[in-house]
Amino acid sequence: MWTLALLGALVVVGMLSIIMGAIMLGLPDAIRGLIHDNGEFERLVVWDLRLPRFLDAVLVGAALGVSGALLQAVTRNPLADPTILGVSAAAGLALAVGLVLFPGIDREWLAVITILGGLVGAGVLLSMAWQGAISSIRLTLAGIAISAFFGAAIVGLLASSTTFLELSLGFLAGGLYGSDWRDAQIVAPIVIPAVAIAIALTPRLNALALGDELAAGLGVLTDRTRLIALILVGALTGAAVSVAGLVSFVGLVSPHVSRSLVGEDQRYLLPTSALTGALLVATADLVARLVIRPSELPMGILTAAVGAPFLLYLVRFRR
């Protein structure tokens, strides 16, 4: 099964993430750091720095992968993705406003603000597209406009705020520098239930794929399904942005990779997208930490660098 292969790959990347970094550890050292709470150097590096960062990468990747899959399902548009439809930008704007207006704010509140931003973004998307019923094409067009608008607001805010200058590169390009257990504790209670609800929603999403009339004929409330899906997208994207900034391409490419592996059935496609997204972000973060060590590349650059050629390959050579 492809799902098992992805899970295996994720475990391998997890192992590498724990062994490799600015300081290379041997496997025995890494395991000692993982198991023994001896306060030694290995413990600090493995348990306090690398493991939480890997888990953050998995949560961010899964959240973005599922967001992308949900958006592609409800819009019936293969180009849908939280970045392209403006949900990321709305969450990012909320995060930027939080950082600039309340410079000493707790990360918990920052995450709340960011998730609210994501929900507002999803809400604006829905209300703009609403006209008696939700039209997929209107949803897509509105999303692109919202993305451009909020994106411009973020850049404007960053340009006018000098205190934020040093953080803006990591924020705009996306990255997991400095993310730790606290980030995982904040977003896991959002991401895990949201992914579970999304998986529970998959039979209705399958019906939606047949077209609104047929879906309605099968007894699926199409608008309510879209509403729930968009709320999930807002919460998941907001959670991802609050930890990693604006990471592009994961939401777009993960469902496509998954589709080529497990096909169109949402019941398999959606969990596989979560795994693919997690694998992509974790791999990108590993590479980001290694390329110019001890400095780091912004991880978002690498998700695009890995994701874009793969998407091109799928477009050109598959199906």
């Binding site: 600015a22 590096v45 340009a159 520098y177």
Partner: protein, 346 residues
């Protein structure tokens, strides 16, 4: 909590600037008397020289005063830090921080990627960029002191992980010469190098006195940088370069401007405003390395600027990037020398 720290930081900065302005004013007063300026300047220089000699003596005395550990100090963010013993393994997180530690004669074990001065510091372990110091490499060095930069690492996203490591963190800054003096005293105590610190303070004061005496009365100047679109930004009184202009007694035509644009301490300048100000000297700094065109050359190619008196008198000068923009700190002595040489040239 953090706000009050920021407040204090701002207040310290403002107080420092006020001191500078105060010093500038008191320098002006004797000049207003009928005594010929040159003689007056020479007299001032002599007085300063005596003062320097005294300061050196005081320094020698202070050298005898060793720091008694554990010692409690207040750093440049107003934080109280206890240093348990004389630090032996020191990690510095910015070029400024590294220079302060190295010039006092302490060894730097870890440095930020862009640190390239003084030369012996380059051999220290690279701990990543100043904006993203690598916790793993720092942990491996197992330092007993981390020296961070108040202008870079004050934001909670960078400050909190450093503090969480349990290693004492000292924030230093060189926003102006007043701050530098305080930082020298602070680091002298922390590193048990109070004598060296006093010598450095005396040397900086002497350089400042000499520079301000050699720069002619009433010279006006502006220090410009430009972004990719050649939008010009001038150093205002809040910047390092602006503080240096004040220190040597030059009138910074952009000194009173508020920050605008993305660079702290700099204000965007419309070309017509520059024409209106028409300073005696235009100092240009180009962040991009050669062969990128120098800003001083670019300015000469902008037609309306041909009418500027600085342009007609060939007073458009390229200044050193490290000294005036990138590495505020101990090299202030060279910066002041360069500034006084430039502003007193015919």
């Amino acid at each position: 909590m953090r706000d009050s720290r920021m407040m204090r930081f701002a207040l310290v900065g403002t107080a420092g600037l006020a001191l500078l302005f105060g010093a500038a004013c008191s320098d002006d007063e004797p000049e207003a008397t009928s005594t010929p300026t040159a003689t007056e300047a020479a007299a001032t220089a002599t007085t300063e020289a005596t003062a320097t000699a005294e300061a050196t003596e005081t320094a020698t005395e202070a050298a005898a005063e060793e720091t008694v550990y554990p010692v409690e100090v207040t750093d440049m963010l107003g934080r109280t830090v206890t240093i348990e013993a004389e630090p032996t393994t020191i990690v510095t997180l910015s070029p400024t921080a590294a220079e302060f530690v190295a010039i006092l004669g302490a060894e730097v074990a870890g440095r930020s990627s862009s640190t390239d001065f003084p030369p012996e510091v380059v051999d220290a372990t690279d701990v990543g960029s100043a904006y993203q110091p690598n916790q793993e490499v720092i942990a491996q060095l197992n330092p007993d002191l981390i020296v961070a930069d108040a202008t870079i690492h004050a934001a909670p996203q960078l400050r909190e992980p450093l503090e969480a490591s349990g290693i004492p963190v000292i924030f230093v800054t060189a926003a102006n010469i007043g701050d530098m003096t305080t930082t020298y005293e602070l680091m002298g105590t922390v590193l048990n190098k109070s004598g060296e610190a006093a010598e450095q303070i005396a040397a900086v004061d002497a350089a400042a006195a000499e520079a301000s005496s050699s720069v002619p009365e009433g010279v006006s100047a502006i220090l410009l940088i430009a972004d990719r679109d050649n939008t010009l930004y001038a150093a205002n009184a809040g910047s390092w370069a602006g503080a240096l202009l004040d220190e040597v007694g030059a009138e910074n035509v952009a000194g009173g401007e508020a920050d605008s644009g993305p660079y702290p301490g700099f204000s965007s300048v419309a070309p017509e405003v520059l024409l209106q100000w028409d300073p005696d000297y235009i100092l240009a700094v180009t962040p991009a390395p050669e062969p990128a065109p120098r800003l001083s050359d670019i300015l000469k190619q902008i037609p309306p600027f041909a009418g500027l008196s600085a342009m007609q008198n060939d007073h458009v000068v390229e200044m050193d990037l490290q000294l005036f923009l990138q590495s505020p700190g101990p090299r202030v002595i060279e910066a002041l020398g360069a500034l006084s040489e430039t502003l007193s040239a015919e």
